[in-house]
Symmetry: C2
Subunit: 278 residues, 2 copies
């Protein structure tokens, strides 16, 4: 893939192909003052678009970045970009920045940039074999929202690659939070548990909780690192991952390296939900 | 000031006026994966340019961002930009980003962007009256280096303005660290103290320590919040601030709202140093 952006929207206008240009004195670049979100389509339908739009605007409000569009307008822009791109599966990336600064620090009129991209689903092997994660003592800045603050995990990319690690699980004061890009769940018997505080409330997390309600006892609460390592099954959820089994934590085989039956069941439920999603 | 950038350098080329353009899929914008620095000139001479160049390249190395230039080349680019801009006092802003990403997360060839700007010194009143700061429990990500991670302080701008606060002093676990953009010093009797760990080692901080050596007992060590509030004099140092007295902390008049004599003496020493600086 040599070209990331397929179509884009920048402050009211749509563009075809290539990345749009921004002046360097945008505060998103100068000062990492920007909120972010990412959604996808399945078979030409944007998945839970309202949830993503709401979260994006909530992040903007929490960061005090002026949002130039109503939620209904934002949803319409996303649909329009999806129609323009006209591919069965795309990703859409949203960025709202503090705008071009005149003195290097003071925000001006925000810049809203939305781009459609080719979507590359995970390879089947990762669903069949599960993935490896490592834990790290870290907490994101403003974990309840999504900003462009991902420098930490990019910095770790070589270390991750060398150790063949799929993602880093952030823990803080002995509690399990989230991975750098996903939420985490554990299963014990018929109980499904996922952290509730100091995390991003993922849309896929939300859907999994909805789908699991009739089959599992669902708990949203603190999980200690010890509880994680002793769990029967562990999986991640995320927009690009759906329900992804974890089979290795901190270089120890987990669940004997096999994917748990309940994780499989939840992935199946999720896949059915997607197929029927309109 | 309607125009921030006077001249700029982008990946080997110099440009006149206006901000250069970058594609939005630069990782500095998408993922806040960028290092930053800022230096200034006095009377057409770049101040301590070697120190700033070293720190910038150190930040790049710590963030694992590939640096495309040698230190000598970087210093030469900075001098050339200064000559091009040809004004008595300018600011120069450096940014090195993870480059244009093809998949939204993986770095590519770094982008090096350097811009010269008009420099607006602080108004005299701030040196004569001192400034007001408030403390906050916060620690920067990777405090020993300078990244573009300034979102927190921009988020707080309205609150700061409402309370007429000049800067926010980050404290962590009861220890004084640094303000959002400056280092901090306290004076008691003939002893000058400044934190040493979990801070950015500012160039102005370094110069002040050098200048103070013959007149003060200098200590680089932990300072508790209590010690700060009981100090005789407090001041900030920074590239754009030189030596700036603090006369109000957390809405309490400090030093009876007057500027201490030793702070004045250090500012005088600093100003002499600038005048003789070649």
């Amino acid at each position: 893939m040599s070209q990331l952006v397929l179509h884009s929207y920048l402050n009211g206008k749509f563009y075809r192909g290539n990345s749009p240009l921004l002046k360097v004195n945008d505060l998103g670049l100068y000062r990492a003052y920007a909120v972010f979100d990412y959604l996808r389509s399945y078979n030409k339908t944007l998945f839970r678009v309202e949830n993503y739009a709401e979260r994006f605007l909530f992040s903007a409000s929490e960061m005090h970045i002026h949002n130039p569009v109503l939620k209904t307008e934002l949803v319409e822009i996303l649909h329009q970009l999806n129609r323009l791109t006209n591919l069965p599966n795309i990703g859409i990336r949203l960025l709202l920045t503090g705008g071009y600064t005149k003195d290097g620090i003071t925000p001006d009129k925000s810049n809203l940039i939305i781009s459609s991209e080719m979507f590359q689903p995970l390879v089947n092997e990762q669903y069949q074999k599960g993935v490896k994660i490592i834990t790290e003592n870290f907490i994101r800045y403003q974990p309840h929202i999504k900003t462009n603050n991902y420098a930490h995990v990019i910095k770790l990319r070589k270390e991750k690659k060398m150790n063949d690690v799929y993602d880093v699980l952030y823990c803080y004061r002995g509690k399990v939070l989230e991975t750098s890009r996903n939420n985490i769940f554990i299963i014990n018997g018929n109980t499904l548990v996922t952290p509730q505080k100091n995390i991003l409330h993922g849309v896929t997390r939300k859907v999994v909780l909805e789908l699991a309600q009739n089959k599992f006892t669902v708990e949203e609460r603190e999980i200690s690192k010890k509880e994680l390592l002793e769990a029967e099954e562990v999986f991640l959820t995320g927009t690009t991952k759906k329900v992804l089994p974890v089979t290795n934590i901190n270089n120890q085989l987990f669940s004997k390296g096999k994917i748990g039956n309940k994780t499989k069941e939840l992935l199946k439920l999720f896949d059915s939900y997607i197929q029927e999603y309109k």
